[in-house]
Symmetry: C2
Subunit: 247 residues, 2 copies
């Protein structure tokens, strides 16, 4: 018997109108809209997507990856025509036998965008956190360096979380500047719920002088959520991409 | 008697929710919202703004300039707090005596953004024209070169227009590429109504092989509006900046 064909999708979406990726009855989700569009173009009863990063309410994606059992749609434009303009399927390719977008993901890369200037920018509304406060960029760099390697992120995820393991391996973490825009890039094997937003919120407290880099670094070895800083809002966060062994 | 103080404003706005810059009874305009916010913070009956570029419905601005008689507001944040998030006053500075944002503008620079790729980008929705067709960038460059200097733009503005002179002097015109994004930058002493959008629409016809660069160049010496190409939609157009003798 030939192996079941698997399709790998690369997807971008503006998270603003969605309660998140994952299907929830009666709520608008990316998964739901995408599964329905795919079922229509593939003329199937249903299509079940497996996703690399279950993004929360309001979180964006530049390069989300999902997979399903079946062939790619004949025309990408056909799927996109059925989707709201906030979602775009960028690619739909045949994947190796047994491919699973979630289980086989080697790492996820996210970017959190902060507009660090006094006056807001109408074109960054809903796209970056507006942060009209003083920012010590050396302190941000110090925090990013402290993040490298394996840490216990218990202080950076809600205590009512469903995780059983709180250690994650960060392979890259860096603040990059582009004019007034500060972008925090982070790559890890996996992330806890709201982890990046809690890290960014805490780092901005360090950047404002309310905590030290050493305090931040100590929190990476474990602690209570109440020891960490504010959770930054979702509209600055983007799932930038997912790595697999074949790319 | 001391000269009347004049204030110069630099303003950014997302044009989507507005019928344009200029006040129109019963319609949402940038001028109206800004004049009302300024009157409130300056505690005046009314504030009358003079503007460098009267942008049309849906056209954006990164660096619009306007002026009014009176002192700058004490705090920029006070004005911005009264404005919709689609508008931001970036700067409010005392101007030289007799300054007038419209009459003294030496040139205006606009940018038209085109996303030239097959699949749309959710983050460029309302920010760039999605153009999923073939584009000959050499032809676009040829058109931009033909634009330099003084021309008759009668073929690039509606025939029911209020202009009496149709000649304008283009001091810079260039298509710049940034990945899939093609940006048309143009600087001129002044522009006719819908002129840049008609130029872009016509150049995209050249880029698709439906017209030649020579045909486009010939239209710059005069012609009827029906000889020119389509008018590109407003959501790709940005007033990027205005030049004065003092900057």
């Amino acid at each position: 018997m030939p192996p079941v064909p698997i399709t790998r999708l690369t997807i971008a979406y503006d998270g603003a109108p969605f309660v998140g990726w994952a299907k929830q009855p009666g709520q608008r989700t990316v998964q739901d809209e995408l599964e329905r569009a795919l079922a229509t173009v593939l003329r199937r009863e249903e299509v079940a997507l497996t996703v690399a990063g279950r993004t929360d309410r309001g979180v964006h994606a530049w390069g989300q990856v999902a997979s399903y059992q079946g062939d790619p749609p004949e025309r990408l434009a056909g799927v996109n025509a059925l989707l709201a303009p906030e979602i775009a399927v960028l690619a739909a390719d045949p994947a190796p036998p047994g491919f699973d977008a979630r289980r086989q993901a080697r790492s996820r890369t996210y970017c959190y965008r902060v507009l660090a200037r006094r006056v807001r920018d109408p074109f960054e509304r809903g796209r970056a956190l507006h942060w009209p406060y003083a920012v010590d960029t050396d302190a941000l760099d110090g925090c990013a360096r402290a993040l490298h390697g394996e840490h216990d992120f218990t202080a950076f995820t809600p205590t009512d979380t469903y995780h059983v393991r709180f250690r994650r391996i960060v392979s890259a973490a860096q603040w990059r500047r582009d004019g007034d825009l500060l972008c925090f890039w982070i790559t890890a094997d996996a992330f806890l719920r709201q982890m990046i937003r809690a890290l960014v919120g805490t780092m901005l407290e360090v950047a404002g002088g309310r905590r030290t880099v050493e305090d931040f670094a100590a929190l990476l070895e474990g602690g209570h959520r109440r020891d960490g800083g504010q959770t930054a809002p979702p509209h600055g966060l983007y799932l930038a991409g997912v790595s697999y062994d074949d790319n």
